[in-house]
Symmetry: D3
Subunit: 143 residues, 6 copies
Amino acid sequence: MPTPIAEITVRIEFSAAHRLHAKELSDEENAALYGPCNNPNSHGHNYDLFVTVRGPIDPVTGMVMNLNDLHRIVQERIFSVVDHKHLDDDLDVLGGRVSTAENLAVAFWEILAPEVQAFGPELSLIRIHESRANIVEYRGAQQ
Amino acid sequence: MPTPIAEITVRIEFSAAHRLHAKELSDEENAALYGPCNNPNSHGHNYDLFVTVRGPIDPVTGMVMNLNDLHRIVQERIFSVVDHKHLDDDLDVLGGRVSTAENLAVAFWEILAPEVQAFGPELSLIRIHESRANIVEYRGAQQ
Amino acid sequence: MPTPIAEITVRIEFSAAHRLHAKELSDEENAALYGPCNNPNSHGHNYDLFVTVRGPIDPVTGMVMNLNDLHRIVQERIFSVVDHKHLDDDLDVLGGRVSTAENLAVAFWEILAPEVQAFGPELSLIRIHESRANIVEYRGAQQ
Amino acid sequence: MPTPIAEITVRIEFSAAHRLHAKELSDEENAALYGPCNNPNSHGHNYDLFVTVRGPIDPVTGMVMNLNDLHRIVQERIFSVVDHKHLDDDLDVLGGRVSTAENLAVAFWEILAPEVQAFGPELSLIRIHESRANIVEYRGAQQ
Amino acid sequence: MPTPIAEITVRIEFSAAHRLHAKELSDEENAALYGPCNNPNSHGHNYDLFVTVRGPIDPVTGMVMNLNDLHRIVQERIFSVVDHKHLDDDLDVLGGRVSTAENLAVAFWEILAPEVQAFGPELSLIRIHESRANIVEYRGAQQ
Amino acid sequence: MPTPIAEITVRIEFSAAHRLHAKELSDEENAALYGPCNNPNSHGHNYDLFVTVRGPIDPVTGMVMNLNDLHRIVQERIFSVVDHKHLDDDLDVLGGRVSTAENLAVAFWEILAPEVQAFGPELSLIRIHESRANIVEYRGAQQ
C-alpha cells in the first residue's frame, strides 16, 4: 500500500472584540452594510478555530505531524496574539482589513502556512466559527 | 495576491414531522425498507441545516456575501416553509419524493442555488443533521 | 466518613412527532395559545432526555445504581415506547394530556420512579430538551 | 395527584464586548486582578443565556408558562439590549458595576423577575455561559 | 439589597484509562456487575469535569472567586494528576476505591473543598461527564 | 435532472484505552515524541467516529444507502471490536501499527470500504474526533 495521506485538525477557542467597519465606506454605508456588527463601541465573540494540516502518515510514528508541535504553533502564533484582544485596535495581522471572519481566516492562513510547511505537511484548511450560526472556511490561494 | 476564495456557512434549526414511505412500494416493502421511520402516524426531528456559499472575498467589505442577506434568504425560503410543519403533508417542495434527508437536501439546493447566485457567489453545500447520528450532504449536480 | 450521597444521570435521544392541542379549548384558542406548535398536521423533535437518580454510593461497587440497569430501564420503559412515534396518536402514557414537554416529564416520572426505587435509590430529576432553546425539568410531587 | 410543579428554561445566545475594570481599584490592581480580561481595548464573548421559570403545570394547557411569552420577554428585555453591544459602554443595566458574568446574572434577574411574575410563575435561575469553560448561576436574593 | 449569592463553574476535559474492578468481588462477580467496563486490559474516556463554587459576589470585584485562581487550583490539583493517566494504576487519590465516576467525584471533592474554602467561598458541586450518556454529580457530605 | 450524488454520514461514540509507543523507537525517543500520550500505563478517550458514504440517491427510496444497513455495518465491524477495549492490547485491526487516530482511521477504512461497496456506494470519509481538540480525517488511498 502506498503511504496514506490524511488530515489532522486542532481546535482552539479564543475570545475577542471587534467592529465591522470598512474605511473605504461612509458611516451610513457601513451601518447599512454591517447592521449591528457596525456598533461603534464594538461587540465580541468566542471564536472557535480549526486548523487542518494534510500530509502522508509517517510509517514509524503514525502521525501526519506531531500534534504537540501543531498545538504549540497555533498557541504561539494565533492564540497568544488574538485571545482577549480587540481585533481592530490591538492587532497588526489584519493589515487594515475589515475584521470579518473571512479576512481573519486569510490572515491566519498567511501566518500558519509557512510554519506548518517547515514540518513537512501542507496547511489545508482554516475554519472559524464566529458564532453557532456563522462559519467561515479558507483553503488557501491555490483553491 | 489574487482575490482569495472562501466559503461562508449559516446554520439554522427547524422542527418537523415526517414519514418515510415510497409510493412505488407496497406497505410491506416500505415497513421492511424504512423500519421505524415508516411509522404510519409519523415521527419527527430537530433538523440542523447548514447552507454553504463559495466565492471571492470582496476586498472592500471583506465578505463573500453579506451574512444578513444569506440569513434572510434561508429564513424566508426554507425556515418559514418547513419549521413546525409535516414534511410530507404540508409541503410542496419535495414534489412527491420521499422525505429522506437526501431528498430534502436536493430540494433545498434547487430553491437556494438561484437565490444565492443572484448575489454573485455559488451555493456549494447543503448539509442536514437529522439527528446526532445521521448527516446528509449535497453539493449540487455538477459534482 | 458517612456514606456519600451522589446523583447519576443517563441520557438518551428519541425522535417523535406531536401536536399541541388542548381538547378543552376551541380551535381558535388552541391556535392562539400554541402558535406554530398547533399545526394540524403535526411537527416533531429530537428529544434529549436526561434521567437522574439519587442515592448512597455503595462502598463495594462504587455505584449509586448499576448504570447498565438504569440504561436498560430507560430503554425498555421509555425509548422503546416513544422513539419514532407520534406522541399524541401512538401513546397511552400521556393519558389524554397535551403533549407538552412538561406533561411528558411528569408521565416519564410516573413510569420510572417505581422502577428506580425497586433498585434502592430515588428518581430525582427528569430533564427534557425539546430543542436547543427549550428545556423542561421535573423533580416529582414532593418538590 | 396535586398539581405538579416544573421548571421550563429558554436559551438564547448573544454576542458582546466588555472589559473587566473595577473603578474602585488602581490600573495596576485591575491588571493584576483580572489579567487578560482587563485588556484596555476590551475583548468579547458569545454569551449563552439560560432563563429558568418555576411553577405549577396548568392542567388545561400543560404549560408552566407559555414558551412564546417567555421567549418574547427575554428577546425584548435582554437580547435586544445586549446583543452586538459593549456591555460597559452601551448599557445602563449594570448601573456602574463591573461586567462580570456574576453581575450580569444579577442584572438580568432584576429585569426578568417581575416580568415573569406578572404571568404567575417565579423566575428560578439565570445561568450564563461566558465561554465553554466559565459558567455563572444566580437564583435570586431569597437563596 | 443584601449581597447576592451566586455560583461559578469552571470546566476542564481530561483523558484517562480505567477499569472497573472491585477487589472485594470475584472475577466472575466483577464481570457480571460491570460488564464491558471490567475489560481486563482497561478502556478509557475523555472526562468532562465541572467544578462549582458558591459564595457572595464581592461588591468591588463583581466576583464570587477569581476565576483565574479557580482554574489554577483545578489545573494543579486535578488535571495535572489525572490527565493522560490510568486512574487505577497511576493515581493515589482513589485510595483503592473502584474508579467509578461516583468515587472520582468524591475524591475530587476531598481535594478541592479545602482549597476553595481557603479563598472564602464553598465548593458546591462536582459534576463529571464520563461520556455523552453518563453523568455523575456530588454535592459533598452535608447534603 | 441526472441522478443526484450525495453523501450520508453515521456517527458513533466508543470508549477505549491506548498508548502511543512506536516499536521502532527507544523508550526515550517515544517519551520525547509522544509526551503524555506515551504514559506506560495508558490513557483513554471517548472517540467520536463519523463514517461517510457517497453515491447516487435512489429515485424510488430517496436514499444513498439504507441508514439501517450502514449503522449495522459500523456497529458490527467497528463498535463491537473497539468499544471498551484497549486499542493496543485487545485488537488485531491495527496490525502492530501505533494507535494514533491516523492509523485507526486507515484501519477502519480498510474494514469498511469493501462492506460499503457491497451495497453499491463508495466509502468517502472516515473522521475521528479523539478529543474536543484533535480530529483526524482519511479519504482513502485514491486521494
